[in-house]
Amino acid sequence: MSSLWLPILMAVPVLGAIVVALLPKGSTTLAKQVTLLVSLVVLALTLVMAFQFPNAAGERFKFEATYDWIPSFGVHFGVGVDGIALVLIALSAVLVPIVVLASWHDADGVKAADGTVVAPKRSVKTYFSLLLVLEAMMIGVFAATDVFLFYVFFEAMLIPMYFMIGSYGGAQRSYAAVKFLLYSLFGGLLMLVAVIGLYVVAGQGTFMFPELVGAIQDPATQKWLFAGFFIAFAIKAPLWPVHTWLPDAAAQAPAGAAVLLVGVLDKVGTFGMLRFCLELFPDAAKAFTTPIIVLAVISIIYGAIVAIGQTDMKRLIAYTSISHFGFIVMGVFAMSQVAQAGAALYMVNHGFATGALFLAAGFLIARRGSPHIADYGGVQKVTPVLAGFFLVAGLAGLSLPGLSSFVSEFMVMIGTYSSEAFGSGALAAAAIVSALAVILAAVYILWMVQRALNGPTAEPVKAFKDLNAREVWVLAPLVALIIGFGFFPKPLLDVINPAVTSTLVNVQVHNPGVAEKGAGQ
Amino acid sequence: MTYVLAADPTLADFGKDPLWITIIKAVMLFAFIMVGILLGVWFERKLISRMQHRYGPNRAGKFGILQSVADGLKMGLKEDLTPRTVDKALYLMAPIIMVVPAFLAFSVMPFGPMVNLFGVQTPLQLLDLPVAVLFVLAMGAVSVYGVVLAGWSSRSPYALLGGLRSAAQVVSYEIAMGLSFVAIFLFAGTLSTSEIVAAQQQTWFAVLLIPSFLIYVVTMFGEAARIPFDLPESEGELVGGFQTEYSSSLKFALIMMGEYVHTFTASGIAVTLFLGGWRAPFPISLWEGANVGWLPVLWFIIKFILVFCFIVWVRASLPRIRYDQLMSLGWKVLIPVNLAWILLVAAVRNVIFVRNGTFDGDIYLSAGMGVIIVIGALAIWMRFDTVNQRRKEAKKAEVEAEFEELSKEPAAGGFPVPPLDLPHYHGAQHKEIPSGTN
Amino acid sequence: MTTNYLILSGLLFSIGAVGVLIRRNAIVVFMCIELMLNACNLAFVTFARQVGNLEGQIVAFFVMVVAAAEVVVGLAIIVTIFRTRRSASVDDANLLKY
């Protein structure tokens, strides 16, 4: 029984990309409209699918579809979603139309207020078709139930993003793009070795994820393979110390691409840890928990501290993300129901929150032509709507209660603190240390808000126009989601929890008491 | 083909002599060649003089027979010059390199059947090898080194050019020569000289394989650098060629000796491979006793002398040809003709073998192959021939046009030229044209 | 008995190899390579004698052919280069005229 939902979901953006690429030269507006339409169709389809999810057939993975792709290698085109994958696909589907709207003029050539060219005119069609290709791959990477297919999307995703950063980004774009590509590629290649090793050692002759679970028994082998996967995901997620590509890439990418990069692409790393590192190599995962938690905590604190020192808005947001990813990784490896559910939820919420922050910052930057915080001041008075959105997004970034990030961050910390997975106090200590980051987050967000939005109005700021309708349409849904899920995260948790449970079963960790607490949240 | 007599040596008979017999045979061979040279030089001069209505040498000894000895002594007593510029080691080695292989080449020449030499039953031949003919060719090739080195080490333009020319000529003719032997091997099935002689018991290869023989005769002159192919020396053009710097001492004598031995070798090969070797010629061969004991040496020497006479005769009759003509003949005529001929021989042999049941195979296929070869060869030749023909005609037309032009304008290019059609220029025939090449 | 020939062949090969590595003149390098090929031939023929079959000799035949073809190609290439390099002087170009 194979369902056509996911293949269609992936085919639609690919077809859209081809259509956009084939449009006659010069029809830029048409290209944008087609892209928007396609992405909205995808969003609609995703939502329909999501509502069917609870009732759909399938044990853990639903909407499964499996076709032979390369029988010689035992590779299948196997797709299917569990709760975590579903919410991440939904996240991508929501973000893409927003990004399309947000980057409506990104490729048109941007002129700063003083007339200097910030970004020269580029091919609009290419940009938007790359965007659609990227969307298809994002859906594919979360939906893949075949390890090889996952790897293929994992690597192939780099290429459209590489061109989006390299061709449409800021002044240092080519440096940033190359750095991004090489880091990811290197990690990916290590993962390739591990993928091959997994296939060879398991000896199952297949790459289907469910069949590979529990296939590797030898602890030493597990450790090696785990390391291969984990390094790739750590680079992707950016975990300290392999995070350095992210600030560059995010700062140089156009705002829309940065949203997708930080909001979705990096989630592939944490998603991969949760799905593959834990379930395929449970023993290794347990063995490595302590060092990984340490890395995660370092990331949390380090990201936050460095963010404080940033003068560039986009870099600052990138560093906050590094801090947040630390939380997610910590949640994943805390091995408790609550923490993992929180981590999964965090992935979604972080996507909305950081997305909103990047976009709001992007609109500011588009008006001033400078990413430096010091160049702004008093924006609030000139463009209250923009400032309002910016403020809400910023507060979501510091996990203010009532906003969505808070729920997830809280769950991660509680889950980690109370995790009895290993019966040690180490996790509790980690949770306590990471709580410091909440304070630091308040510092960097509020400081930025204060410097940029409040205070005396800087001279160039006075000429700012407030958000136009398009820009409002970009930010409003995100803020709505942030607030909505901040008060009512249950729909998300309802789909996430079963998936987390089955993950933990595969990892052979049981702490039902904590699970109950998590469910009650 | 009846089988060879027991007296005929086969390869198995060689390599068994005790050392002292070997030494005796070697000394005999050496003496034969040395004496042969002394007499040969005299004989050649004498013969050629008679052909030119002269007396030739007649002072030293009876009929001047000691003339060569006298020449040799004279050379020994002349001043030995070594120019300053030469590459000394090679300069001195070159004559030695020329002479020694020439002697060695003679060692596989069969003089007769098994004889009783001081109580030992042994073939009258210094040695035989499974690759005897190759050995001869190899030795011929090695002495080319002598020629080249002589020219090279002299460090003078004439000598260098002479040496190269000589090398080019010898190697060119070596190919045709090597090819002319192939037909013999096809029949004899061996490279050993004694066995080739045995294979000629019934018919000489010179009769059976006339084209091969003719080609060999031509290449023989080229290889030995005898007139009409003595271009390496060509006194008129190259002041003596590679030997310019070997003025006139024993070194020069050695070089001359080497060339003479080459001529001898060439004759010896002709006799051995084509003219039945030591076997008695036809009417005498009917007598059983003609081919046993020491008698065959006589037949060999007679044939040898006759071939040598032929060489001298040619020298007396023909002028030296031009270098390009020499090379053209070798490359454009001898080699292709030879190849076609070899294939034809093989095809015919094939037909014969298939007919007498030695081979499996379709006789018509084999015969057809032969026809293809003949027709193919002819067709190719027609093609090349028309090419040559056209070239000649074009040249003729060009010359004619030139003459026409000249006759119209006697003052060609400003120089007063007497009219070219004056009767005393061309004799009676006005239309006489210089002949083309070849 | 055959050992001596093998040693000779090894020596020739080494001389050739060293020559290729240390000589600067293309023709000499080329000659050294030919020397190496001939050392191979010697080794082949010696081994043919030693193991008592004809394969080694057949190989030697083919090697000669190949070496000859190599000579032709190699000389053509080297001569072309020499003509180019010496073309600075009219005299030289004239002397090397083909």
Partner: protein, 131 residues
């Protein structure tokens, strides 16, 4: 090995003779020093000694040498072919190994045709022109 002893003997004889002749030559003749005698001979003009390592020579000799190599190598294959073409007989004149027969003929035909193709090319491209 014994097969080659006679060659050695003859080589010693001939070589001894040749070396003796070369060695003795300076002692038998007179010696009258004259500068001109020691120069290379060049028809009376001032001689132009060639450089060390030999002088330059026309390239056409190189071409001849190459052609020679190609055709000489051809002979390498013709000889064994010719020798084995006929059936091998024993002492009693019975065939003990058949020749290669039609096969050999066909193969040699192909071989020679191939060589002739090269030959035709050389000919048409004026490789066989001398002056």
């Amino acid at each position: 090995m014994d097969l080659y002893v006679p060659i050695l003997v003859l080589a010693v004889l001939a070589g001894g003779f040749a070396i003796f002749s070369v060695a003795i030559a300076p002692f038998t003749g007179p010696k009258r020093w004259n500068r001109a005698k020691l120069d290379a001979y060049e028809c009376g003009i001032e001689p132009t000694p060639q450089p060390v390592g030999g002088g330059r020579f026309p390239l056409k000799y190189m071409v001849t040498a190459m052609l020679f190599i190609v055709f000489d190598i051809e002979i390498i294959f013709l000889y064994p072919w010719a020798v084995t073409f006929a059936p091998l007989r024993n002492d009693a004149n019975q065939v003990i190994a058949s020749g290669l027969g039609v096969f050999a003929l066909v193969e040699m035909l192909l071989f020679i045709v191939t060589v002739l193709v090269a030959y035709a090319y050389v000919w048409r491209r004026k490789g066989l022109e001398w002056d």
